[in-house]
């Protein structure tokens, strides 16, 4: 019986070894893609770097491609404003929601809500953009800006930030919930058995233990917000000026690239400047990802510490 079961033992072992090699190769290729993209972007942005120094590219305000002036400050400022507004709106929501779902809600409710959060994360960003155009922009123009006595077209940093916040929330909630779930129940029991209330336990024990992971979740959210293009581009106004308030229009880096690449490339160095912007984005997002991953793996270590 056993003899008949494996007619070609050699082939079976060969397939085993071969499949490992293939999988190994695929992993290396996907890693290489990142390196190749980074290198290509650097290579193509060298002409503009030769013309202007790195600091002056980042810090000068004048954006006049036809005169050969490439100051990225308005775009960097636009990106920071939009991302900042998004994080300010999204972070409290994420923190409180994930705490509620993990620590307080019943399992049934959690299982009902989870798919909604996941679907929210999977909606194409154009849809968020349209929603921003139809709801957020008129809301800011008609209600919010007049409330502060400011006249705004509605296409502004705040609109971009609000749309982004809604896009970031599901991702960050998802990771934060995973982080909170790694806090051992015995730790909660230990605190509760001392007579601590649920809220005291969450505040002093669970949050303290989960904090590095939550920060990492937020940094990942931040990096998503940083690179998001189309939804922001649709509502943010796209004016190459440093915004002075949240009701001013802004022009984030991704929008700059998406709007212009392939259109005005007859201008010398223009494509090089845009690819420099892309390189900048890539490096920043890469940096955020590495940082958050380092924090996350740090919590995994401390897990053993406390266990």
């Amino acid at each position: 019986m056993i003899k008949n079961r494996t007619p070609f033992p050699g082939r079976r072992l060969f397939a085993d070894r071969f499949s490992e090699k293939i999988l190994h190769g695929v992993v290396i290729v996907s890693g290489l893609i990142l390196i190749l993209i980074t290198f290509a972007l650097y290579y193509r942005s060298r002409p503009v770097l030769a013309l202007q120094s790195f600091p002056s590219l980042l810090l000068s305000q004048g954006w006049h491609p036809s005169r050969g002036e490439f100051g990225f400050l308005p775009f960097i400022a636009g990106t920071l404003w939009v991302t900042g507004v998004a994080m300010v709106i999204a972070m409290p929501i994420c923190l409180l929601t994930s705490i509620y779902l993990v620590e307080y809600s019943s399992k049934t409710l959690r299982e009902w809500i989870n798919p909604f959060i996941d679907i929210l994360a999977g909606i194409p960003s154009v849809v968020y953009g349209i929603w921003g155009l139809l709801i957020i922009v008129p809301f800011i123009k008609g209600y919010l800006a007049p409330l502060f006595g400011i006249s705004s077209s509605g296409y502004c940093v705040l609109a971009g930030g609000m749309v982004l916040a809604v896009m970031v929330v599901p991702v960050v909630i998802h990771i934060s919930m995973e982080v909170l779930k790694t806090v051992p129940n015995e730790l909660r029991d230990a605190s509760m058995s001392l007579g601590a209330t649920k809220w005291q336990t969450v505040k002093h024990v669970v949050m303290r233990r989960a904090m590095p992971g939550i920060v990492a979740a937020m940094v990942l959210g931040l990096s998503r917000a940083f690179g998001e293009t189309i939804a922001v581009l649709m509502v943010v106004g796209n004016l190459a000026r440093v915004p002075k308030s949240v009701f001013d229009p802004g022009y984030p880096l991704p929008a700059l690239i998406a709007n212009n690449y392939g259109e005005m490339l007859s201008i010398p160095l223009y494509d090089s400047a845009l690819l420099f912007a892309a390189l900048l984005l890539l490096l920043v997002v890469l940096y955020f990802n590495i940082v958050s991953r380092m924090i996350l793996s740090g919590t995994r270590w401390s897990h053993y510490y406390y266990a």
């Binding site: 230990a190 058995s193 601590a196 002093h204 303290r208 233990r209 401390s302 266990a307």
Partner: protein
């Protein structure tokens, strides 16, 4: 019974969903004695212990009927205040779980959540209970370093001190030495022997020799039922029930 009942359990039934974990438990746990709960894994030992301070409340799908009276008060009365009940009992779990903070803050945590703000008083409490847990000499120079840096045995004594610092009357131990090396286990057992002068102690264990060393009373659970309960020497040396005898001889497990 020689002394007054401290915890009195009446018709206690516990279900996890459809799983009937504890069946009609009736037992009186005496004051200032060590009661040891023995039985094979999965017989409901830990469940019984956790029902004493309502730690099962947070488990999904759990259903509890019957009464658990502590000092004559039903702790499952809907009007009972759960943090007040839990404050009466210190819990030691299988593995020590120090809170993610310093040694000092671990002990101070309990008094602080019960709104003790006087720093001198907290200092005194910390020192007193670290001494009670015979940990003071080992940690007095590093009170403000993270508790996670202590050895597992030290951590378990820290958890003991932490539990005592809220002024409980009862100490619950859920296999409190199972993660410890022999010396640390001995240390914890010695603490229990000292502490029974002042506290009612209930310990779950699956180590029979430990039960023999510690117990004043022994409670034998099997398959969620209370099989036998009585003074330690009777249950361990002259069990009335055939099942208890078989368990002690190692025939069933």
């Amino acid at each position: 019974m020689e002394s007054k009942a401290h915890i009195s359990i009446q018709n206690l039934n516990i279900y996890y969903g459809k799983d009937h974990a504890l069946k009609d438990i009736n037992v009186e746990i005496p004051k200032k004695k060590i009661t040891v709960i023995i039985g094979p894994s999965g017989c409901g030992k830990s469940t019984l212990l956790k029902s004493f301070n309502r730690l099962l409340d947070s488990v999904d799908n759990v259903k509890i009927t019957g009464k658990v009276l502590v000092d004559g008060e039903d702790i499952y009365d809907p009007k009972a205040e759960v943090t007040h009940i839990r404050k009466k009992m210190g819990l030691l779990s299988q593995k020590p779980y120090p809170l993610p903070m310093s040694i000092y803050d671990n002990i101070a945590y309990g008094p602080r959540i019960h709104e003790e703000r006087n720093k001198k008083k907290i200092d005194k409490i910390v020192e007193h209970f670290l001494r009670t847990a015979s940990l003071w000499d080992e940690v007095k120079d590093k009170l403000h370093s993270p508790a996670s840096q202590l050895s597992v045995g030290q951590q378990q004594r820290l958890c003991l001190a932490r539990g005592l610092a809220v002024g409980p009357e009862i100490i619950l131990g859920d296999e409190p030495t199972s993660a410890l090396d022999p010396r640390s286990s001995q240390n914890i057992e010695a603490r229990f022997q000292e502490l029974k002068q002042q506290y009612t102690i209930v310990v779950v264990t699956h180590i029979l020799r430990q039960a023999k060393r510690l117990a004043d009373y022994v409670l034998f659970l099997y398959g969620g039922r209370l099989i036998e309960y009585g003074p330690a020497h009777e249950v361990l040396e002259n069990p009335k029930e055939a099942m208890t005898k078989e368990y002690i001889q190692g025939v069933i497990s």
